[in-house]
Symmetry: C2
């Protein structure tokens, strides 16, 4: 079977590709496990994956119909759509966000529709679809009222994908992902970028700026948990979803202050003191519009997973990054 990952050279895309190449198979559009014969990675940046005869790494923008046509062959069975312009950038450049986040998704859906295979289409959506006046606890049926262009664009994509699924054009499933933490590498233009930075940079001996207040509540998921949930989302039978193709993911509710406390317990006070608290109203406005606490009985019932605690997330990051951090988590 042929699989496509958009944003396939990004951090999550690369990790997902590695997992797929190791596991070698995936449920096809008919639900039966099939060998992965071709894995297409499409991204504006080149892939850093080790060479593999099954990998087709394309460099190009999915805002370009020719690129989408090349990336999604008519016999594609599964699509993981991870590519996006991140929240801070979509807020600063509305037109870029509409093109990259909405129009590109529509191009992908159209191409998938006309392939004729009704491929499983996994859309990485976001808790950023929520905003404004919200209950303390977001429920599975809470109405999304986004207060950012990124959140609006993700919600437009969810709705379009749901109608494409209802019409039988694709077999879609949209997972509303929490903030992924801890991302490796450099900060990006996501308003949530700090959530990784305030742990990652201090652990690497560098200072990090935290642009929101310590009591800001976050809804988090570790990278490995996210990969597991994306794969699980692809594996679900359409009958398990019915006409409700959008699922709030489970997550870990924790305040930014508690995250830095966990860092201190893990690596000591000197490390935690590398976090500088410098409020940025533009970032805080977007981040504070996102909910920090969800009840997710539907996702749990469908078999999606959450991280158990933040200390484990720090430890997994340190292990993956090969950092020689002196953990004092057991003291």
């Amino acid at each position: 079977m042929k699989v496509v990952i958009t944003g396939g050279a990004g951090f999550l895309g690369t990790a997902l590709a590695q997992t797929l190449l190791e596991s070698r198979s995936l449920p096809g559009s008919d639900g039966r496990p099939q060998q992965i014969s071709q894995l297409t990675l499409i991204d504006i940046a080149p892939s850093r994956l080790a060479p593999d005869s099954r990998v087709r790494a394309l460099v190009g923008s999915i805002t370009d119909p020719n690129v989408v046509e090349q990336a999604l062959e008519p016999d594609t069975d599964a699509i993981f759509h991870l590519a996006a312009v991140v929240s801070g950038q979509a807020e600063a450049d509305f037109d870029l966000g509409m093109r990259a986040n909405f129009d590109a998704t529509r191009l992908l859906l159209e191409r998938a529709r006309h392939g004729g295979r009704k491929p499983r289409f996994v859309l990485a959506s976001s808790v950023a679809v929520f905003g404004g006046a919200l209950p303390t606890m977001v429920e599975d049926d809470t109405a999304p009222t986004p207060q950012s262009s990124y959140g609006t664009q993700k919600l437009l994509c969810e709705l379009l994908m749901s109608d494409y699924s209802r019409k039988g054009f694709v077999d879609g499933r949209a997972l509303r992902m929490p903030t992924i933490c801890i991302r490796p590498g450099a900060p990006n233009k996501a308003a949530s970028s700090f959530a990784s930075g305030i742990i990652r940079e201090p652990l690497a001996g560098e200072t990090a700026v935290c642009p929101v207040s310590p009591d800001t509540l976050m809804w988090l998921m570790s990278p490995s948990c996210a990969i597991g949930n994306l794969l699980h989302g692809q594996s679900l039978e359409p009958e398990a979803l019915g006409n409700a193709r959008v699922i709030n993911m489970p997550g870990l509710s924790i305040s930014v202050g508690e995250m830095v406390d966990a860092l201190e317990r893990f690596a000591g006070a000197a490390t935690a003191k590398r976090v500088r608290w410098e409020p940025d109203p533009n970032i805080a406005r977007i981040v504070n519009s996102w909910p920090g606490r969800f009840a997710t009985p539907r996702a749990t019932g469908l078999g999606f997973k959450a991280d158990a605690n933040f200390a484990d997330i720090i430890r997994a990051h340190v292990d993956a990054a090969g950092l020689r951090a002196t953990s004092n988590a057991t003291t």
Copy 2:
């Protein structure tokens, strides 16, 4: 001030235009009442309005960027966007629905954004945004999960208009209209077309087919009430709306059987017997996905109105149509 009505040659558009020409003024984009210097009606059909020096009647499709550019001049202060491909047609022709209902709205919003006036943009949305598993009573914060392409497209437009408003590009307000009943004229391809037909045709001495069961609950609004609410929606100050630009309209909750009972009380058993009950699963599926009962405290608080009862709606239709129906409503 310059005002634009899309779908301006349609039934509601024509009635709205007549009301505007009589009232002569409207709140401008600064909120102060202004004389209407120009009223542009854009429609694929020619306008049937009596000649008036203030009226600019354009024939063309708002799916055409050139037509939109001509219709919305940079100094346009108010837009009533009523044009749409109706529910039955949007379900039968997905691509037409996306073009006419979504892409055209996006063209209008873009044009309004770049005019620089931040015009008041009134979007006629629909209760068709709701569907699927719904509570008995739809509340102001019930999550919309449309089960038709028409409902999906209207919801996409609401979201886009909301983000355009949040960004300060336009001053938008989307009114989720109930089924408008009783429309004069011929049946159309709306799944709800029967709701007018089962009253209008029998009153005119003709038979009418009802494609849904008598216990189907409808959420209705009369044409004159709809005109009043569209104008009221335009007149609201942006501060009254905040970031919540979408409003469930109040309405009249009544079953189709009760509608025909009201017809019988108004015009007699012989008239009511002109309704033939012939279930149509395609129409019933769409209509049954719409809710028939709402609690609308927000709309009521903002000053929107509902019809008092169905007998008054029948009477107003008979008066407007000049029918010489023998009402026995007082017997």
